[in-house]
């Protein structure tokens, strides 16, 4: 009998050894096909060329299980996008794993940690660095040189090197960076214009006026239902809601207080120049303390959502017409506003580059262009396959091949956004020109990287009625085409403040982690987030900020600051 037990142990042990073998990456790769044999060549290849032999690529992909956009019979693996890829490039896509947005980070961590990687996937900056350090990624320098389409190269290179810098380690390129419009990093004030009008108020220009307006929104029953159930200013939601964007996640912070911080001249979460060329962390500066104290006053007076940071979904009161002000980027038509307007067609959400700082300026912080990266597993035989898929995506978006009503662009495998830095501003101006009759659609045919411009110009008159210089909700006819309205309302109402306002944009000195941050940053950031929330919500005294600064420096902040100084020297 003992022998049997021993035999069982042997079985189990051999399973372990087999695991060891797997985890050292011995997966057999598919043979390189035809023309791709001379991988050392630097000659440009055809970015759109099809493979003679069918290629397969297995990817990790974000799929929302409750998404019902796909037509009957289509699946995330078999839809207009995957069929087009197979037809045009002879590439067959497979799923190594899928996960909802909420679980995606965890799935990717698991894949990295267990070295059980798909051939390619889309990761964030922290994951990218981790994978580079673990030696898990293919060098894409040649692939990018030879295969990237001219339009994509153009977009990536027009970011003043920022996009390339974010994926280059020791001179090698380990990922293809997505590029998003600059406007995504500018956080503006969205406000219920109809409430302002009803109460006879003006959009608040200063922090004092903001408090006055918010108080009126809370106390004067702007929704006229007779009960005091309205919120002045929405706040971040629980879970991953943030009070401000930071240098690692520098854009698309919804329901934070970014514009309020910058009105105090504070840029928490950003690495700034202290005036003498040395880096300093914005969260440790006195301006931040002042801003926190200001927010604390607002919260104590009930002008900020009392449920901030605990609410599951901050968009709920906005959709339900219970909130009057929130801070977010330009694209809120894609955000809560579509539902808000569906609920209440009179909900007149307008956007302003406000409040202003003491000098009367709007000085927002600006974002890095790249936050999503396409990476390829080291031993994957055809590392250019993902690049070709991206080329193909961009080409077809320019040519408008896909029909979003048959499944949104999120279903395109390995999709990352390639948008010219000024896409929103450019489109905003173009629409105004066409509406004013000073230019026509045909004048823009050569602006190919602005891939949605033709349809934007086509659709605008369906949903926007005269007068063309008034953007209040009453002048729109969203029922004619909700999809087009969502985009146009975002670009016009959300884009106007960005186009019309002279602003000095504050950049972070770096947008990536330094080596020491890998082990220390999570804990430092946790300390910061907790302390600041406590100060704002009145749980800790304002002066505990000074203790935080000391703790922060002692627990690695000082060393990290030195690393940042070195990083910007290079």
């Amino acid at each position: 009998m003992k022998r049997k037990v021993k035999a069982a142990c042997v079985v189990a042990l051999s399973a372990v050894l087999a695991l060891g073998a797997c985890s050292s990456g011995s997966e057999t790769a598919t043979e390189p096909a035809t023309e791709e044999e001379q991988t050392q060549s630097t000659e440009p290849a055809d970015p759109y060329g099809s493979y003679a032999e069918p290629m397969t690529i297995s990817i990790g992909m974000q799929v929302d299980p409750t998404d019902k956009d796909l037509p009957a019979g289509d699946t995330p693996l078999d839809n207009q996008y995957t069929r087009q890829i197979e037809e045009a490039l002879n590439i067959k896509v497979e799923h190594a794993f899928t996960a909802s947005a909420a679980n995606m980070r965890q799935k990717i961590s698991l894949a990295i940690a267990s070295n059980d990687l798909p051939d390619a996937m889309v990761v964030n900056a922290v994951e990218l660095r981790q994978m580079v350090a673990a030696g898990q990624l293919a060098d894409l320098t040649q692939v990018y040189e030879r295969y990237a389409s001219p339009e994509i190269k153009d977009i990536i290179e027009k970011t003043d090197g920022a996009a390339l810098k974010s994926v280059t380690f020791d001179g090698k390129m380990y990922a293809i960076p997505g590029v998003q419009a600059d406007a995504d990093g500018i956080h503006i004030m969205w406000i219920r214009q109809d409430w302002l009008d009803k109460l006879g108020l003006e959009p608040p220009k200063s922090m004092e006026e903001l408090a006055t307006v918010a108080r009126a929104f809370v106390e004067q029953d702007p929704d006229g239902n007779g009960s005091a159930d309205t919120i002045g200013i929405s706040g971040p939601q629980s879970g991953d809601g943030k009070m401000y964007a930071n240098f690692l996640e520098s854009k698309n912070n919804l329901y934070g207080f970014d514009a309020i911080f910058s009105a105090y001249g504070a840029f928490p979460g950003y690495w700034l120049d202290d005036g003498s060329g040395k880096p300093v962390y914005g969260s440790t500066l006195p301006e931040t303390k002042e801003a926190l104290s200001g927010l604390r006053d607002l919260y104590a007076q009930g002008l900020i959502d009392p449920e901030m940071a605990v609410r599951e979904a901050s968009d709920e009161p906005i959709i339900n017409g219970k909130s009057g002000i929130f801070f977010a980027p330009w694209w809120m038509g894609y955000g809560p506003l579509t539902n808000a307007v569906k609920n209440d067609p009179e909900a007149n959400w307008q956007a302003y580059a406000l409040p202003l700082d003491a000098g009367g300026d709007f000085r927002p912080h600006a974002a890095t262009p790249s936050t999503e990266f396409v990476v390829v597993r080291k031993d994957y035989a055809n590392p250019e396959v993902p690049m070709k898929m991206l080329n193909n995506l961009f080409k077809n978006e320019m040519e408008n091949t896909f029909d979003p009503s048959k499944g949104g662009p999120g279903f395109y495998p390995l999709r990352v956004v390639f948008a010219p830095s000024d896409e929103i501003e450019f489109t905003n101006k173009a629409i105004k020109e066409v509406l004013a009759g000073t230019k026509t659609k045909e004048d823009y045919v050569n602006d190919r990287p602005y891939k949605l411009l033709p349809s934007d110009l086509e659709n605008i008159t369906k949903i926007k009625q005269e007068p063309y210089d008034d953007w209040n909700i009453g002048t729109w006819t969203p029922d004619a085409d909700w999809g087009a309205w969502t985009r146009a309302y975002s670009i016009m109402v959300g884009g106007n403040p960005i186009v019309d306002t002279e602003m000095e944009r504050i950049n972070s000195l770096i947008y990536e982690q330094t080596p020491l941050m890998e082990s220390r940053w999570v804990n430092l950031k946790k300390m910061e987030d907790e302390m600041f929330l406590k100060i704002v919500m009145g749980v800790a005294p304002v002066d505990s900020f000074d203790q935080f600064v000391e703790d922060w420096k002692r627990q690695g902040g000082e060393q990290i600051t030195n690393e940042v100084a070195e990083a910007i020297q290079q």
Partner: protein
């Protein structure tokens, strides 16, 4: 009496169970090595460099780990005490009930929360305690200002303990009720004849009658001193209450899987296991010494 030829049958019976444990519990323990390595996922556990005790040293200087050990201890100990006392009181009250039908119904209903998952109860509880949820509405009737219960760090451990007691007290009465039925009714009759009232009987007959059970439960729960309840806290907490509500298990999960600090997470998890093992051993010997009871 020992019959030698039986041994092989015993082993045969044990084979499936131990095979199961070997594959899914013992084999994966090779991951403990990560705590002593500079773990490089690209190289895997078998080829990463050794770090000695460095992660343990870092663990002890980190404010976080002290905090989570402290939180775990507080929450777990409060839970242990409450789980001993509340079901006892409830069982005693139930024992006073003379209508058996009512008693049966009450028992059935109070067992219910035990069987529901924290995924589900967490959702419901957060909803009940939300800013304009029923609890705050009820409070408003009595003139209380609405509070964000689950945003307050000083309240959070109490809410966790309270909701856990609420979930488990009914189920935990089972053992006490059994002990109560084990008391000889003749004792009560005799006491009644001596003119002892309800309270006197409780004090002199009921409580001594279940003393052994209570001591045993207390000793057994020693093994749980570092188990504050992952499922519950994972489904209830938020960053605002990390300072008092983050426990070892949730911290290890976040640090290891979401923040990619595998080594540190494994080290902390290992420390927890070691302490847990020691505590169980202690309670094993305590139970044997104190009340001559073998836990297993």
């Amino acid at each position: 009496m020992r019959i030698k030829s039986f041994d092989k049958h015993y082993y045969l019976m044990l084979l499936p169970g131990y095979l199961w444990l070997i594959v899914f519990s013992i084999v994966p323990m090779f991951g403990i090595a990560i705590a002593f390595q500079y773990f490089n996922p690209g190289k895997g556990i078998f080829h990463s460099e050794w770090a000695g005790l460095e992660h343990f040293r870092y663990m002890f200087v980190l404010k976080d780990t002290r905090e989570v050990f402290f939180n775990t201890l507080i929450i777990a100990v409060l839970k242990i005490i409450a789980h001993l006392v509340v079901p006892l009181v409830f069982a005693l009250m139930l024992n006073e009930l003379r209508k058996l039908v009512v008693k049966r119904w009450i028992q059935t209903i109070v067992y219910l929360p035990h069987f529901l998952s924290w995924v589900i109860l967490g959702g419901i509880i957060l909803d009940l305690f939300s800013y304009n949820g029923p609890v705050n509405q009820l409070g408003a009737l009595f003139g209380f200002k609405p509070t964000l219960f689950f945003a307050q760090a000083e309240l959070f451990p109490w809410l966790v303990v309270g909701s856990d007691v609420w979930k488990e007290f009914g189920f935990n009465t089972i053992i006490y009720l059994a002990a109560l039925t084990g008391i000889n009714p003749a004792l009560y009759e005799a006491a009644g004849m001596d003119g002892a009232g309800r309270w006197k009987s409780l004090w002199h007959i009921t409580l001594p009658g279940i003393r052994t059970t209570a001591v045993l439960l207390a000793v057994l729960s020693l093994g749980n001193v570092l188990n504050a309840g992952f499922d519950q806290i994972f489904n209830l907490y938020n960053p605002l209450v990390y300072s008092t509500g983050d426990i070892i298990d949730t911290w290890v999960y976040r640090t290891g899987l979401l923040n990619l600090q595998y080594e540190l997470a494994t080290a902390v998890g290992l420390l927890k296991s070691v302490i847990g093992f020691i505590l169980i051993s202690v309670s094993y010997f305590l139970a044997y010494r104190l009340i001559n009871y073998r836990i297993f």
